[in-house]
C-alpha cells in the first residue's frame, strides 16, 4: 500500500518534470512545479513516516515489467528505505516550500524547473530499488539531474568547471558501484537484491566490494579524499537545490553504503570498521578545517557537509566494528547514532542553505567579507540561521548534540573490542570527533558573526530586505524540527529501532516510556541525557536572571557610540573579517594541513607605499592525489591522440593483433 503510494508520487513528479519542459517559459509553471512537488513531498513523507512507525517489520515488494526484460524492475519498501524516504521527502517538502518564494527570482526557470522534480523522483527511486540494475539506473538518473541543476547558472564564473568535475566524479563513483554489484551478483548474474542477500561472498570478494562501495558511495557522500567536487558543485546550484544536494543527496549515498555493506554483503569483518572509522575521522576533521578557511558562505556550508558525513561514517564504522565482534547492542547504539545524525544533518543543513539562499537573494552576495550587520535588516532569517548554526555546532538543547552524544557513548563502549588496532584507533577517532565539534562551533561563530553581526562591510547590504513568507515558513519548520529532535530525542531514537532490528537484529531499549523522557542508551548509572529537562532548566535559570535584574537593577539604557577601548573607528574595515577571525586557527592547524604561509610586508616609517599581506594555502589532497592523476590522464590522452591519425593499414594490423592476443589469452585460460 505505502509502496504504491510512493511509486505513484514518483510518477507524478516525473510527469510534472515533463510538463515543465513543455511550459518552462510561462511564469505560472514555477508555482505549479513547486506546489506539486510540495504536495507530493508531503504525501510521500506521510506514507513513509507512517510505514516506519507502524508496520516497519514487514517489507513490501513490487515488480514492474520495465527495465531489463529478464529481470524487471524490483522495488522494495522496508524500515531502512522508509527512514531514508522520510529524510528525502522532508527535504523535498521544505525545499519546494522554499522554492515557491525563492524560485520567483530565478533568472532562467527553464534550466531549473524540469530537473527539480526529476531529481526528487530519482532520489526516491534509488532508495526504493531492489535490484542492481534499477539501483544503478536511478542512481545515475539522480546524478545527471543534479548535474543539470548545478549547470543551471552556467554562465557564472566557475560553475561550468564545478559541474564538469562533478560529472567526472559521479561517473567514476557509478563505475565503482557497477563493479561492486557485479562482484556481488557473481557469475550467475543474480542482480536482484534478494539473490545477493542469500549469497555468501568469500572474504576476499567482500573486501573488494567494500573498497568499491567506499569509492562509489563515498564519492557521492563526500568522504575525504573523494570530496573535491562537493564544495564546488553544491554551492553552484540554486540555494534550494544546494540544500537538497548537501542535506539529502549525500544521505542517499549513505543509504547506498548502508544497504550494500550492512544488508547485502553478509556478516562484517572487524577490520571493515577500522577502515570506515579512519575515513570518517579524517573527513570530519579535514572537512571542518577546510570550512574554516572559506569566506564563501555556501562553500563553507558545503565543506561542513564533508565534516558531518565524516561523523556519520564514524558511527557506521563503530557499528561495523561492534558487529564484527558480535556485540549487537553496542552496534545498535552506534548505528542509531549514525542514522540519527543522518536525519539531524539533513534538517539543519537544509536550514542553513535556505538561510544562505535568503542572504544571497537579498544581497546578491555569497562572500562573507562583503556582508555584515544583516541581523538588523533580516531579523527572522538571522534567528533561523542562528538556530541552524547552534544545531550544527552540536550545542544543547538542539538536535546535533544528541546524535554526537550518542556517538560518544558508542565510542566509550569500545574498550571491550578485542582487536589492538581498534583499541588504538577508536580513542584517536574520538579525539578527532571532539576536535571537529569544537572547530565547528568556531566556524559557525565566524559564519554567523561575519554575515549577520557587526557592521556592513560593503554597500550590498544597504537595500537588503527580509526574505519572503514561503522561505521563512520553510526555515522555521526546520528550526522547530531541530528543537523538537533536540529536546525530545527519545521518540526519534525509538523510530530508528526497526532499522537496527532489520540490519543488526538488535535495538536500543525503548526510550519514550522512560521517566521524564530521559534518554538512557545503555543503563541509567552509565549515562543519560534529558534534553527537555535541560531546556526547562536553562529557560528557568534565564528567566530567574532576567527577573532579578528587572526587579532590582536600574532600567536606564543609553545608546551611544561603541567604546572600543576609547578609540572607536567609523570605518567598518576596522572590524574583524571572516578571514581574520579564522587566522588563529589557521596558524595553529593550517600550517600543517594546508601549508599556509603568511607574508607581511611593512614599509619603513615615512614611506608611503601600502603595507601588504600575502597568504598562500595549498590543498594537499588536490596537489598530491588529483593533480598526478590528471597529469597521467592528460599524458595518456595526448599520446593516444596519435592513434586518430593512423593509416588504414595500421588500424587493420592493430585489430588483427588484438584478436590474436585475445585468442591467446583464451587458450592459456583454458
Amino acid at each position: 500500500m505505502a509502496l504504491t503510494v510512493l511509486l505513484s508520487c514518483v510518477a507524478v513528479l516525473l510527469g510534472t518534470s515533463a510538463l515543465a519542459v513543455a511550459a518552462a517559459r510561462r511564469s505560472v509553471t514555477t508555482v505549479f512545479v513547486y506546489s506539486v512537488a510540495l504536495l507530493v513531498g508531503a504525501a510521500a513523507l506521510a506514507a513513509a513516516g507512517a510505514f516506519l512507525v507502524t508496520v516497519a517489520e514487514s517489507a513490501e515488494t513490487m515488480k514492474l515489467p520495465i527495465g531489463l526484460p529478464w529481470l524487471g524492475a524490483h522495488f522494495r519498501l522496508d524500515a531502512l528505505s522508509a527512514l531514508f524516504l522520510v529524510v528525502i521527502n522532508l527535504g523535498s517538502f521544505t525545499s519546494s516550500l522554499y522554492g515557491l518564494g525563492y524560485g520567483r527570482h530565478e533568472p532562467s526557470p527553464g534550466r531549473v524547473l524540469p530537473f527539480f522534480p526529476a531529481f526528487l523522483a530519482g532520489m526516491n527511486l534509488v532508495v526504493l530499488a531492489n535490484d542492481a540494475f534499477t539501483f544503478l539506473l536511478t542512481w545515475e538518473f539522480m546524478s545527471l539531474t543534479s548535474w543539470a541543476l548545478v549547470m543551471a547558472h552556467h554562465r557564472e564564473h566557475g560553475n561550468a568547471k564545478a559541474a564538469y568535475i562533478y560529472l567526472v566524479m559521479a561517473s567514476f563513483g557509478t563505475l565503482a558501484l557497477l563493479l561492486a554489484f557485479g562482484l556481488l551478483a557473481g557469475p550467475d548474474g543474480g542482480y536482484a537484491f534478494d539473490a545477493m542477500r542469500s549469497a555468501a561472498p568469500s572474504p576476499g570478494l567482500s573486501a573488494a566490494v567494500l573498497a568499491l562501495v567506499l569509492i562509489g558511495a563515498g564519492s557521492k557522500a563526500g568522504l575525504v579524499p573523494l570530496h573535491v567536487w562537493l564544495p564546488l558543485a553544491h554551492p553552484a546550484a540554486p540555494s534550494h537545490v544546494s540544500a537538497l544536494m548537501s542535506g539529502v543527496m549525500t544521505k542517499v549515498a549513505v543509504y547506498g553504503f548502508v544497504r550494500i555493506v550492512f544488508d547485502l554483503l553478509g556478516p562484517p569483518q572487524w577490520w571493515w570498521g577500522a577502515v570506515v572509522l579512519m575515513l570518517g575521522g579524517i573527513s570530519a576533521v579535514l572537512g571542518v578545517l577546510y570550512a574554516l578557511m572559506q569566506h564563501d558562505l555556501k562553500r563553507l556550508l558545503a565543506y561542513h557537509t564533508v565534516e558531518n558525513i565524516g561523523i556519520i561514517f564514524i558511527g557506521l564504522g563503530l557499528a561495523l566494528a561492534f558487529q564484527g565482534n558480535a556485540m549487537r547492542t553496542a552496534a545498535a547504539l552506534a548505528l542509531t547514532a549514525a542514522l540519527f545524525h543522518v536525519f539531524n544533518h539533513s534538517v539543519f543543513k537544509s536550514l542553513l542553505f535556505f538561510g544562505a539562499g535568503a542572504v544571497l537573494g537579498a544581497t546578491g552576495e555569497r562572500d562573507m567579507e562583503r556582508l555584515g550587520g544583516l541581523i538588523h535588516r533580516m531579523p527572522l532569517t538571522a534567528i533561523a540561521f542562528l538556530a541552524g548554526s547552534t544545531a550544527i555546532s552540536a550545542l544543547p538543547p538542539f538536535n546535533g548534540f544528541v546524535s554526537e552524544w550518542l556517538t560518544f557513548q558508542a565510542i566509550l563502549l569500545s574498550p571491550q573490542l578485542p582487536q589492538w588496532l581498534l583499541k588504538f584507533l577508536v580513542p584517536a577517532v574520538g579525539a578527532m570527533l571532539a576536535l571537529s565539534a569544537a572547530l565547528a562551533a568556531g566556524c559557525f561563530v565566524k559564519a554567523f558573526g561575519a554575515t549577520f553581526l557587526g557592521r556592513a562591510r560593503s554597500s550590498v547590504t544597504q537595500s537588503a530586505q527580509e526574505t519572503d513568507a514561503y522561505s521563512l515558513a520553510a526555515m522555521f519548520i526546520l528550526v522547530l524540527l531541530c528543537l523538537i529532535a533536540g529536546i525530545l530525542p527519545g521518540y526519534f531514537i525509538d523510530a530508528l529501532a526497526p532499522v537496527t532490528r532489520q540490519l543488526l537484529d538488535a535495538q536500543l531499549p525503548l526510550q519514550a516510556q522512560l521517566k521524564w523522557l530521559t534518554i538512557v542508551p545503555i543503563a541509567a548509572d552509565r549515562s543519560s541525557y534529558n534534553g527537555l529537562l535541560l531546556f526547562v532548566l536553562v529557560a528557568t535559570a534565564g528567566w530567574f536572571g532576567a527577573y532579578v535584574i528587572h526587579r532590582w537593577a536600574s532600567h536606564a539604557l543609553r545608546r551611544s557610540a561603541a567604546w572600543d577601548c576609547g578609540f572607536p573607528d567609523a570605518s567598518p574595515a576596522t572590524q574583524y573579517t571572516a578571514g581574520s577571525f579564522a587566522q588563529p586557527i589557521r596558524r595553529v592547524f593550517g600550517t600543517l594541513v594546508f601549508r599556509a604561509r603568511e607574508q607581511v610586508y611593512m614599509p619603513a616609517p615615512g614611506q608611503t607605499q601600502p603595507a601588504q599581506f600575502h597568504l598562500s594555502m595549498r590543498d594537499l589532497v588536490w596537489d598530491y592525489l588529483y593533480a598526478p592523476v590528471e597529469g597521467v590522464v592528460g599524458f595518456v590522452a595526448d599520446h593516444l591522440n596519435k592513434v586518430q591519425s593512423w593509416t588504414i593499414r595500421a588500424y587493420l594490423s592493430l585489430v588483427f593483433s588484438s584478436v590474436v592476443l585475445l585468442l591467446m589469452v583464451l587458450a592459456v585460460w583454458h
Binding site: I375, H376, P379, L386, T390, S393, L395, F401, W405, F408, Q409, L412, P415, P418, F424, P427, A428, A431, A437, A441, G442, F444, V445, K446, F448, G449, L453, G454, T518, A524, D525, R526, S527, S528, Y529, N530, L534, L537, V538, A539, T540, A541, G542, G545, I549, A553, S554, A556, L557, R558, R559, A562, W563, D564, C565, T574, Y576, F581, A582, R587
Partner: protein, 318 residues
C-alpha cells in the same frame, strides 16, 4: 517525600553555588594581593561590584542587536544550569540524570558560543580579536576536556558525575597513571577556560593579548554584572568539577542525613579554599604567555588526555 527532600538538597546546592561564586573570586584576588604584599580589596568586594553595576545605567553601542542584550542572560543561564548539575557537597542530585559530563561540557560550549557572538555583535576590532582567540582556545580545550571525560568514564564505567565520584571514593581506584594525566590536563583546561594566567589575564583589559576581557569590552551596567556573575560561577564550577572527580572525599551520598550534608559542605568549602590558594600561588608565580604559545600549552593537555584514555583502552580487555 523523598523527592521533596532531594529537591531541597538540589536547591541548597543551587543557592550555595550562587552565593559562593563571587566570594571565591574575591578570595583568590585577596590571596594574590597578599602574595604581592599588597593589602588587596576586601573579600566581599565582588558582591559590591555586582551591586554597583546593576544600579548603573547600561550603555549600548548604537548598532548592538538583540544578541548583545540577550547573550548575558543566556550565558548566565547555561552556566548556572551546568553549575547546578556538578555535585558540590552531595551527589545524587535530582537533576543529575538530565546531563552527564559530556552534556555539561557542551552546555559550557553553548555559553561560549553566545559570548563569542556577543563579542562580534558591535563590530569593533577588540570584540573580534577576543571572539576569534576564544574560539581558537576552545578548539583545543574542548577536545582535551572530552578526552579527560573519556578517561574518567572508562575507569568508572559511566559518564554520570555521581558514578565517577562514587568510583573514585571506592576501594578499587588505587593510584593510576591515567588519572594523574587527566588531572594535569583538567587543571590546564580549567586555567584556559577561566581566562587565568598564563593563558589570559583576568585583571586587565589593557593588553593586546587579552581574550575574555576583549569580548566583554562593550558591556556595561546590568549586562556586565550578569556576565561577571556567570564568569565567577564558571570558575566555581571548575573547582567543583575537580573536587568532585579527583577529591570526592567528604561528599555526601543521596539521602544521607543532615550530618553527612554538613560534613560535605564543610569539606567543600575547605577544598575551595585550598584550590583557590593554589591557583593564586600559581598565577603569581607564572608569567602570561604569548597567545600563540597557548596552543602548545593546550595541545599538551589534549595529548595528556588522549594518552590517558589510550592507556585505559589498551589496558582494559574483554
Amino acid at each position: 517525600m523523598a523527592l521533596i527532600y532531594d529537591a531541597l538538597v538540589q536547591s541548597a546546592q543551587l543557592a550555595l553555588v550562587l552565593a559562593l561564586a563571587p566570594l571565591l573570586t574575591g578570595y583568590i584576588r585577596k590571596i594574590k594581593a597578599q602574595l604581592l604584599r599588597r593589602r588587596g580589596p576586601p573579600l566581599l568586594q565582588p558582591y559590591r561590584d555586582l551591586l554597583k553595576l546593576i544600579r548603573k545605567e547600561a550603555v549600548l553601542a548604537e548598532n548592538a542587536s538583540w544578541i548583545f542584550r540577550t547573550a548575558p542572560y543566556l550565558i548566565f543561564a547555561t552556566t548556572l544550569t551546568a553549575a547546578a548539575l556538578v555535585p558540590t557537597f552531595a551527589t545524587g542530585l535530582v537533576f543529575s540524570s538530565a546531563a552527564d559530563l559530556i552534556a555539561i561540557v557542551a552546555l559550557l560550549g553553548t555559553a561560549r558560543f553566545a559570548l563569542a557572538l556577543a563579542g562580534l555583535d558591535v563590530g569593533t576590532s577588540f570584540g573580534g580579536i577576543g571572539a576569534s582567540r576564544e574560539m581558537m582556545i576552545a578548539s583545543l580545550a574542548e577536545p582535551a576536556m572530552l578526552m579527560i571525560v573519556f578517561t574518567l568514564s572508562l575507569l568508572a564505567g559511566s559518564t554520570q558525575l555521581s558514578s565517577v565520584a562514587a568510583f573514585v571514593q571506592g576501594p578499587e581506584v588505587g593510584l593510576r597513571v591515567s588519572l594523574a594525566m587527566a588531572l594535569v590536563a583538567l587543571v590546564i583546561v580549567a586555567i584556559a577556560e577561566n581566562a587565568r594566567i598564563p593563558v589570559d589575564n583576568p585583571a586587565t583589559h589593557l593588553e593586546l593579548t587579552m581574550v575574555h576581557e576583549a569580548m566583554i569590552l562593550e558591556y556595561s551596567g546590568r549586562h556586565l554584572a550578569v556576565i561577571e556573575a556567570a564568569a565567577s560561577l564558571k570558575l566555581l564550577l571548575y573547582f567543583s568539577l575537580i573536587g568532585c572527580m579527583f577529591t570526592p572525599w567528604g561528599l555526601a551520598t543521596a539521602g544521607a542525613g543532615f550530618v553527612a550534608y554538613a560534613i560535605g559542605a564543610v569539606s567543600y568549602v575547605a577544598k575551595l579554599a585550598a584550590g583557590g590558594f593554589l591557583l593564586a600561588v600559581f598565577e603569581t608565580a607564572t608569567a602570561k604567555m604569548r597567545v600563540f604559545r597557548v596552543s602548545d600549552f593546550l595541545g599538551a593537555a589534549l595529548m595528556l588526555g588522549l594518552l590517558g584514555a589510550l592507556l585505559l583502552f589498551v589496558s582494559q580487555s574483554a
